[in-house]
Amino acid sequence: MIWNDEFETLPREAIESLQAKRLRQVVERVNATVPFYRESFEKAGISPFQINTLDDLKRLPFTLKQDMRDNYPYGLFSVPLEQIVRIHASSGTTGKPTVVGYTRRDIEMWAELMARCFGAAGVHQGDIIQNAYGYGLFTGGLGAHYGAERLGASVIPMSGGQTKKQLMLLQDFGSTVLTCTPSYCLFLAEAAREEGIDIVNLPLRVGIHGAEPWSEQMRGEIEEKLGIKAIDIYGLSEILGPGVGIECIEAQHGLHLWEDHFIPEIINPDTGEVLPHGEKGELVITTITKEGIPLIRYRTRDITRIIPEPCICGRTHVRLERMSGRSDDMMIIRGVNVFPSQIESVLFKIEGVEPHYQLVVNREDNLDTLEVQVEVNEVTFSDEIKELQSLSRRIQKDIKEILGVSCQVKLVEPKTIARSEGKAKRVIDLRDQA
């Protein structure tokens, strides 16, 4: 269902002229209200009046996550604090969190975009949405919640964790939609199986999953184990939170980014140069309607490409290919770039291997080592040593062939690898401690 028929299907020229107009406004606004931007424009030798067309965007300097940290907590806000009605912050595992503030209009806009996302995922009034994203400083829970209410669906503010209760509500409340991270979704499926709950035959119909990178194979696994359609959603707190983009249920291919509010660019992460449509690189987003903390050319560190072909669903907003990982998640192992999602894809292709894996990176004698820990289950287990050894070798060989990096495979007992109730921790890098 298209929630906002007028804006979601705007002709290309109309989108672009709207973007150009809003870009001029936002650049003028941040120049006038945010000292950081005034200085950064000055340093780049750019005056806001020189920004007239979409093509001028590339002349503006980037905003980095570090800039948000340097201006902690409120330095990048573009309105006085009295106009901020909500404050969220990232988890900030390293150092200070990044802080974002929303005006009343920002909250409205966010609810509107999240409602569009639910619509694109085939969710409508009458649906019961079990929202298992965390409520709190994290944007996931409240972001999805307001969108669900805007849509007119019934939302259960379950938040993350409490797996037994999640399963109870899925059965007793008849939830038809589940919003959570993909790894938690699989964790729930596993817990359901252990409790003897036939999750496939529950009313649950759609899962909306994001907040961490996942693979096409993992989607297959979720859809099969829960008997649902699994939809990829994109968002990041710096830009908005969940709802920046989403796949449509019609195509399940590429995430529509709401271009009346954001301008996407793909750049070469090393040179900063803008890449043509279709090429893979780092996603850069400019927010053109946000009031609280507008960001100009924010480097998301997410690696993707723009899918140039129009979508079958009728929406005219561009699609981004499924994120292949965040450049922060990228490991460099003996000079080879490796994303956890690539290893995940390799594992999924091997019969019986489950998505419970962890990567341990270490350094021995100045050489990087990669250990891939994979849980043994009833399908892959054999009473013969040689069978298990051949499984290890097969994984090793496939990873070497596809990623070009050698690794050690360690088979571990089930449940050895911590199950995440939020974002899955896939990589343990011990190199800095060595």
Binding site: V376, F381, S382, D383, E384, I385, L388, K410, L411
Partner: protein, 143 residues
């Protein structure tokens, strides 16, 4: 003429083997015979027990990966060349042995060898034709 064996995946870390035997023992399962195959990272514990289904359930709920396999129990006279005559028969019949382990019967007159064959049906046929004495499941579980 087949006997069921359970095998358990055990990571090479302290206390895992003890944990298996504790879980089984506390549920009243008795171990008849066992063999442990190990590599530097992991081991496979193979057990013949008196209550197979119960043992499998208990271990599974204890978080272990468990499989059931068909093996063949052969009674071997406790004298020189007793084992040789059996292996020789298998060799001539081109039956492959994946692994084997032995234990003694209570009365001490015979040894029992547990064989894991790649083709257990063919092995049972051959052994039966040659007149080699095999034990059925019940006999081994209740030994």
């Amino acid at each position: 003429m087949k006997v069921q064996q359970i095998s358990i995946f055990i990571e090479n870390k302290a206390g895992r083997l003890a944990e298996v035997t504790r879980v089984l023992g506390e549920s009243g399962v008795n171990i008849r015979a066992l063999s442990l195959a190990d590599t530097s990272d992991f081991g496979i514990l193979r057990l013949i027990v008196d209550k197979i289904d119960a043992a499998q359930e208990i271990l599974k709920s204890g978080g272990f990966t468990v499989n059931k396999t068909d093996v063949v129990a052969v009674e071997v006279p406790d004298r020189p060349l007793g084992l040789y005559s059996i292996l020789e028969t298998l060799d001539r019949g081109r039956i492959n042995v994946e692994y084997m382990y032995a234990f003694a019967e209570h009365d001490g007159a015979n040894a029992v060898i547990i064989f894991r064959f790649d083709d257990p049906d063919a092995a049972v046929d051959l052994l039966r034709k040659t007149g080699i004495h095999m034990l059925d499941g019940e006999a081994v579980y209740n030994m």
